[in-house]
Amino acid sequence: MQTLHVNGYDMAYLDVGQSRCTPPLVCVHGSLNDFRIWGCVLGPLTKQHRLICVSLRHFFPEQWDGKGNTYSIAQHVDDLIAFIEKLDAGPVDLLGHSRGGHVCFRLAQRRPELLRKLILAEPGGELDATLDPDYKGGPSPLLARFTTAADKIAAGDIDGGLEFFVDTLEGPGRWRRLPPLMKQGLIDNAMTLIGQVRDERPGFSKADAESIQMPTLFIGGAKTKGLLPKVLHTLAAHVPHSRVAMIPNTTHPMFEQAPHAFSEIVLEFLAG
């Protein structure tokens, strides 16, 4: 694959399409995914844009051994900043999904001059006390279970670890029912779960949200449950130049479930 050398690491990316009059759109995957997750929207989006789909440090195509402390939000933000600088295409448009949305949000906070527009598809993370009156602090109640999953993976039981992880999030029996194609993408990135449980994400604060300067689009799945839609709507209420688009009949992987609708929303925002 093509790579750019950032912070001592060869960061792989897929570079497809040509932009007419807009900057490249850099796409950042979420937990347990990699550059391939954007495969289903490459067609519609590359009709008008150059897409750069990165794989963050330690995700496939790297075959990571799970060792070291270089899997973190801070490292991934540093890497993405260095990547965009090295790309040398001027300010880019940036799209992040889930944990990748968190990485993009932090980059927008730190280095606004690198971005023209920002798209956050159900960004991952938590709200701190300035945004959520019910905030209690402390580690996520699911951390113990995620740690069990990561321990299984570290011990070589990839299938068992992922089953435990996926079923914790989405209910018993879910892993076994996943299409093999989706399972394989998670298997290819299973070792990153070992880094993930050590990943310390500071919660989003009101001041964080208010500091985002560029035009920002939040995209959600209308049927996503739990914390993700709450985070999305709360951030959108405080990011100054923001819009929200919810895609009917979809959940967290909304662009895989409705690639055409997702692409239309993105294209319209980038053109406007």
Binding site: M1, Q2, G39, C40, G43, L181, Q184, D188, P259
Partner: protein
């Protein structure tokens, strides 16, 4: 994307992993993304090079020109492999891409170390199938023609439904995940090109001519001609091996990525 200029065309490809080069050729309506499900397992021991043939995505082809031909794609793959080092390479083709890989092996055995054909597409002539009809369109090309007429009248999803259900049975298209459907839509103009591709049927002398160590792979639940062709070829390719992926159909490597990768990796390691 990375690309190599072949016969005045920039042929895009995705390359990852380390080891002996394994060039992968997608089938009808596919592109380099066809292999996404097996990139992980295959790239552990191989340098996987997944090409997009002329006019497939990432090109957004308008359907113009007369160079969507089976012979052109074969010539392009040959020119592509000529620029890969080290040679000879391993070559893997699925469906129509299996047909291309077979013809490359026939024309240029010097370029190939090993050959893997996953349900290669095409027709059998009368030397391989006594019931083969001489002249007139085969059932396969008749089906493509129905789809093409739907594309021309603007019914793209209807065209894809007819094509996909023709391969793996009724309701296959409707049950496909939205992501898979979109990737087929991205290549819809190539289906129109396929009407005039001039694909020749396989003959017994063709099969006997293959000198490269060959593995033929099929899905255990595939029905119709795609389940017949590879078995007919296997009877005449000297020393070839075969493998069936249980409970899988034509897109067997998406339905059982680990199982498919295991048989391919084992064969290439022999």
């Amino acid at each position: 994307m990375q690309s190599i200029n072949v016969n005045d065309y920039d042929m895009a490809y995705l390359e990852l992993g380390h080891g002996h080069p394994l060039v992968c050729v997608h089938g009808t309506l596919g592109d380099f993304r066809t292999w996404y499900a097996v990139l992980g397992p295959l790239s552990k021991k191989h340098r996987v090079i997944a090409v997009s043939l002329r006019h497939f995505f990432p090109e957004h082809w308008d359907g113009a020109g007369d160079d969507y031909r089976m012979a052109q794609h074969i010539a392009d793959v040959i020119a592509f492999i000529e620029q890969i080092n080290p040679k000879p390479v391993d070559l893997l083709g699925h469906s129509r891409g299996g047909h291309i890989a077979f013809r490359v092996a026939q024309q240029r055995p010097d370029l190939l170390r090993k050959l893997v054909l996953a349900e290669p597409g095409g027709d059998l002539d009368s030397t391989l199938d006594p019931a083969a009809v001489r002249g007139g369109p085969s059932p396969r090309s008749a089906r493509v023609l129905v789809s093409v007429n739907k594309v021309r009248s603007g019914d793209i999803d209807g065209a894809l439904e007819n094509f996909v259900d023709g391969i793996d049975g009724e309701d296959t298209w409707r049950r496909l995940p939205a992501a898979a459907k979109q990737q087929l839509r991205d290549n819809i103009t190539t289906l129109v090109g396929q009407v005039d591709e001039a694909r020749k049927p396989y003959s017994k002398p063709d099969a006997l001519a293959i000198q490269t160590p060959t593995l033929l792979v099929g899905g255990g639940d595939t029905k119709g001609s795609l389940s017949v062709i590879w078995r007919a070829l296997a009877e005449h390719i000297a020393g070839c091996k075969t493998a069936v992926i249980p409970k899988a159909k034509h897109w067997m490597f998406e339905q059982d990525p680990e199982g498919f990768s295991r048989v391919v990796t084992e064969f290439l390691a022999e």
